[in-house]
């Protein structure tokens, strides 16, 4: 037998071991614990180690939880739609125009992206508050105050989510647009396509995967938003993450919190599975 350059299976296993251990310790084990915890009972703020379906029965029979979960999915979908609609033109313009300013714009985007979300979110509260600088400037100019719905409403929550998650959308779309061979567009023009037609026939289908990947990323992150609903929503529009936090911390009902966590994780996993089926991830360019 010839000496193969491929490492032996044992070596591969050894190399993978640290990663496997790390994943197990910090992902698989906690997940299993969460699942186990959701089948326990609670009494006087104490977890009772009794296997039961009480928590799950409560979840499936309580309208309020599902209302919040539905609201969360709805808000996330809206956020995905807005991020794609705002992110695509920005990403497309970054690739095709502003060649001179591209680097500067990218750095600014990264700065905005890396600034702590708490800071940014509270910044908006301060700015948009009734006694904040926004109203001050408006009043100074002789204009009326901002309408009520600008802050502590669904609109402001959505605004905050889009504001925080837009960079994810822009960066994934930017990459997919940037990767398109410019000669393909030239070829389309050469074949007789107008600018719009070339965009529709070439650019759009080729960055479909980028758009979908960006949407998926934004959706998953949106499901977990807790800062925006809490801070910009003024507590009036709780979303799933905030509900889970309250269940654990305020109500001290760990089994229920665990069960709600699993519901949210399930929604996430199902979405990812559906999306990857839709995208045929890993199958390359074949349809």
């Amino acid at each position: 037998m010839s000496h193969s350059l491929e490492p032996s299976r044992l070596m591969v296993a050894l190399h993978a071991l640290p990663s496997v251990l790390l994943q197990s310790a910090f992902f698989v084990v906690p997940l299993c614990m969460t699942i186990a915890l959701s089948f326990q009972e609670t009494q006087y703020y104490q977890v009772q180690w009794v296997w039961s379906l009480t928590t799950w029965t409560e979840i499936f029979t309580t309208y309020y939880y599902w209302k919040i979960l539905f609201n969360t999915v709805l808000m996330s979908l809206a956020c995905v739609g807005l991020c794609a609609m705002i992110g695509f033109p920005i990403a497309y313009a970054l690739v095709t125009r502003f060649q001179k300013w591209q680097a500067t714009i990218k750095i600014l985007l990264v700065f905005a992206f890396l600034t702590d979300a708490v800071l940014k979110t509270f910044g908006w509260v301060v700015f948009l508050d009734q006694t904040g600088p926004a109203n001050f400037v408006l009043n100074f100019l002789g204009l009326p105050d901002l309408p009520d719905w600008v802050i502590y409403s669904r609109v402001s929550v959505l605004f905050g989510m889009v504001y925080t998650l837009l960079p994810f959308s822009i960066f994934t779309i930017y990459l997919s647009v940037d990767m398109i061979d410019k000669n393909l567009l030239r070829a389309a023009y050469d074949c007789g396509a107008s600018k719009f037609r070339a965009f529709y026939e070439v650019t759009l289908p080729l960055c479909k995967n980028g758009l979908m990947a960006g949407a998926l990323l934004v959706f998953v992150l949106s499901l977990g938003s807790f800062l925006e609903p809490k801070v910009l929503g003024g507590g009036k529009n709780p979303m799933a993450a905030e509900l889970i936090r309250q269940t654990f911390e305020t109500r001290i009902n760990w089994p229920l919190g665990s069960a709600l966590t699993i519901v949210v994780i399930s929604i996430t996993v199902i979405t990812i599975l559906l999306a990857s089926r839709l995208l045929d991830l890993g199958q390359g360019r074949k349809k």
Binding site: R186, A187, D190, C191, G284, K286
Partner: protein, 367 residues
């Protein structure tokens, strides 16, 4: 006289301070196969981009079939381009790729399908490829698909931007033959850009040799090979022997410096507008001196290297006096092995030589 399909008048292209094209004039006749040849940076691709409309000339004019193309977008020009990296649409099937130009022209679907099939047959591609994607085809097959897409809309001018440069030698030869066959059977005018003069000689009716944004010479492959007008052209294909000559009395030229040459005659340099010139002797026109050979000029050489080219043998040598490098190409393989260090006598017939002005070189660099 046949009509010009493409006329280029005084085309200059500047990129900032850099001048890529220094006033190009070229007439391309209908049905011709034209090759634009030159090293990278010679401006050949820029010229093609200007014809296709992807670049606008800084000065000068371009006419296609008698129509000024200044304000005509690439999409509306009767030209079609085969890109260097083919630029097939990876998300479209072969059928969709080939039929794309017709789809844009709102040709009925049945007609598109019919013409796509015709192109497929013409390119000798299998019908089952129609529903495959470009990535599933080999390099040569992709090449044929790219050609099919360019030809389906019946362009007046087919522009080829080094589409063969990335292929291996064997496939390249096959596709070169294919291109020539296509050109003959379709009667479309081809403008082919390449850095490979041998490829250009093989394919083209007329070759335009470019260097540093100048069109040095336009001519048939024979003109380019046997009657170059510039040292750059003479040396661009294969190796050659150039001897500096200067004008003597009554319009004839004499070799300036070639010690040991016997029977040096003078050469009539008709049309050479210069006092100094080069005398070119192609390696295959240098013969070994033999009693039955009536050579005009002979010289003694010492062999420094031999290369077996199969049907010919190339001999590199230096003259015994003066150490001038000489290259010979001898038909067949040599009966007696020519050893390195062997002393030979070689020579040429004056009728096999070609004279061209030497000053032209300086012009190129000043430009």
């Amino acid at each position: 006289m046949p009509k010009d399909i493409c006329t280029i008048q005084g085309v200059i292209k500047n990129y900032g301070n850099f001048r890529a094209l220094h006033g190009i004039d070229l007439h391309v006749q209908k049905g011709e196969f034209i090759a634009l040849v030159g090293p990278s940076g010679s401006g050949k691709s820029t010229l093609l981009q200007i014809i296709s409309g992807f670049e606008a000339p800084s000065e000068g004019r371009l006419l296609i079939d008698g129509v000024d193309m200044t304000d005509v977008a690439p999409a509306d020009r009767p030209t079609s381009m085969v890109f260097q990296k083919l630029a097939l649409f990876p998300h479209k099937t072969i059928a969709e790729n080939i039929g794309f130009p017709l789809k844009l022209r709102k040709v009925p679907k049945a007609e598109i399908a019919k013409r796509t099939r015709e192109m497929l047959d013409l390119m000798e591609l299998k019908p089952e490829y129609l529903n495959r994607y470009p990535a599933q085809l080999s390099g040569g097959e992709q090449q044929r698909v790219a050609l099919a897409r360019s030809m389906i809309s019946h362009p007046k001018l087919l522009l080829l931007d080094e589409p063969l440069s990335a292929l291996d030698v064997k496939l390249k030869k096959v596709l070169q033959t294919e291109l020539k066959r296509l050109h003959r059977s379709l009667g479309v005018t081809f403008i082919h850009v390449t850095h490979d003069l041998e490829e250009a000689m093989m394919l083209a009716d007329h070759i335009c040799v470019m260097q540093n944004g100048l069109l040095l010479q336009v001519g048939t492959p024979d003109d380019i090979y046997y009657r170059p007008t510039h040292r750059f052209v003479a040396e661009f294909i294969g190796e050659t022997n150039l001897f500096p000559v200067k004008a003597g009395q009554n319009g004839s030229y004499e070799i300036e410096e070639l010690p040991g040459a016997r029977g040096v005659s003078s050469f009539g340099g008709e049309g050479v507008q210069s006092d100094t010139a080069y005398l070119m002797v192609r390696p295959e026109f240098l013969h070994l001196a033999a009693p039955d050979h009536d050579l005009d000029v002979t010289i003694d050489i010492v062999v420094s290297e031999t290369f077996n080219h199969g049907s010919t043998t190339q001999v590199k040598a230096v003259t015994r006096e003066g150490n001038h490098i000489i290259t010979l190409e001898i038909q067949g393989h040599l009966d007696e092995a020519v050893d390195i260090g062997a002393h030979l006598t070689v020579g040429w017939h004056d009728t096999d030589t070609h004279l061209f002005a030497r000053t032209a070189d300086k012009m190129e660099f000043a430009a």
